[in-house]
């Protein structure tokens, strides 16, 4: 399936990337080529095959519901680029 520049722009927004013209120009043919290559999977007969999301198909690994030491508030905030004493700071989300 051909992939257009408009589609690459749409994907960039979904991916939360901010690509300039030069990056979009470079990426569009590269992604098109890779997507054309992976399109070869369409030829594989997978009728009735259960998708395999994981090599070890474990489910519901549980443990006793006990309090354990975790990361302290301070340690969790230590790498934040902007913070105050209680949390992470972001630009205003709501106007006024």
């Amino acid at each position: 399936m051909a992939i257009s520049r408009a589609e690459v722009e749409r994907v960039a927004l979904l991916a939360r990337l901010d690509l300039d013209d030069a990056q979009l120009e470079a990426l569009t043919p590269q992604l098109a080529e890779i997507v054309a290559y992976v399109d070869s999977l369409a030829a594989v007969d997978t009728a009735g095959v259960e998708p395999m999301a994981h090599a070890v198909e474990l489910h519901n690994v549980l443990r006793a519901d006990e309090v354990r030491p975790g990361l302290s508030h301070e340690a969790a905030l230590a790498n934040a680029p902007r913070k105050d004493s209680v949390g992470f700071k972001v630009p205003a989300v709501l106007d006024g």
Binding site: R16, L19, Q30, I34, L41, A53, L71, A78, R82, P91
Partner: protein, 512 residues
Amino acid sequence: MADLTPLSAAKQRSLLDTGEVTSVELTQAHLDRITAVDDRVGAFLKVTGERALAQAAAIDKRRAAGESLGPLAGLPVAVKDVLCDEGEIVTCASRMLEHFRAPYDATVIAKLKAADAVLIGRTNMDEFAMGGSTENSAFQPTHNPWDLARSPGGSSGGSAAAVAACEAPLAIGTDTGGSIRQPAALCGVVGMKPTYGRVSRYGLVAFASSLDQVGPFARTVEDVALLYDAIAGHCDRDSTSANLEAKPTAPVVNEPLKGLRVGVVPEHYAEGLDPEVKAAIDAGVERYRDLGAEIVEVHLPHAAHGIATYYVIAPSEASSNLARYDGVHYGHRTDETAMHAELAAERKAAAETGDKAAIKKIDTALVRLYRKSRTEGFGPEVQRRIMLGVYALSEGYADAYYVKALQVRRLIRQDYDQAFEKVDVILGPTTPAPAFKLGELTDDPLSMYLLDLYTVSANLAGLPAISVPCGMSKSGLPIGLQLMAPPLEEERLLRAARMHEDAFGTAPLATL
């Protein structure tokens, strides 16, 4: 004293045990070696010399006091810069994490510390482990010790090169689609990807969570077994960890396997296989025949779809995992003043035209913060993989790409399950060709991806696999032979690899 650094870890350990060498001397010898060669090799992003010497001195003191010591006591270990080591910077070779300080120890790091290893430094890698050349590091390329104009492979190229250049006897890497085995092959060392779930991923910075696995590098199979034993085992902080005992392999690794059935796969002799690599692999098959193994042809009919399957699943998982880098919690954040000015200018320009649709299209400040922080923090290959993954998971495409790839993944696994009914291990090339030149493939991502042909299937199927040296090309570059085994059969894999090593020898040492 003769140079210690070319010795195997087992030999270094025996010199420590007999008191001929102290851990401080051994660590200093490796630090001196790093000083002598690493400006040319570029294996390390950071050498933690002071800490290593302090660890070594503490171990010497305990040894002198007659205390019992861990299995890696006093041995230098280099670690790929992708595992959290409390209080240390963990960059993943990315601008995004250039200043990120790990708040806790990865289980593998905690196990290395408990085994009394000396953590000598952090090795270079492709950014977030995405790549096969170590050229995607945001900080520096790593050079192949066999030919400095060539790539060491990747993504664990720094770890492979450090071991090949005798800067460390042991190193830790990670393997999502071949990132331990491929650089091991290209650098002439041994590297193993354990079974998915054998080694804890807790504290490993995630790339593709259903494929990532931590594993050992060394110059001998025995040393790989030693390091593997130290890091393997169940971890209750990784819910995908296999809740099974990982029996030590080092005590039995030198015992040959009787009646070994070695599978060879016609599909491995695909188009694009370098004739010198093919000849070296054929010679490896003959070595097993001479050792009394039975050589059995097996088929992996879906092997050819491995790369397409991998390059849907791995980027899909990566796009989800890397969504955490938002410029808010940790990692790079764009300059907010400049960002607000940019948004204000865009709003003003749009308002002047009166185009309501254009005004509506302008990002909110928070979305722009995410977008700019991520675009500035991630390099081109990481952005490419995120884009691929988001595309493959996006509305209208997820069934055609992601779900389809998961179905083919099961077919690939079933091929292996059927093959392993007839054979004990599967033998083939690790890479289609020896090391390529730095810069040769940087503008051609698909060609770079195609080099992963022989390695990705073990990750998709969750199998253990190892690369061992099996020859040298005419131009003096190492060639790797890959062995794969059924899930959880690391002991069999290592013993089979050791048999080959006994017949072939280890690769010679690179001259630097």
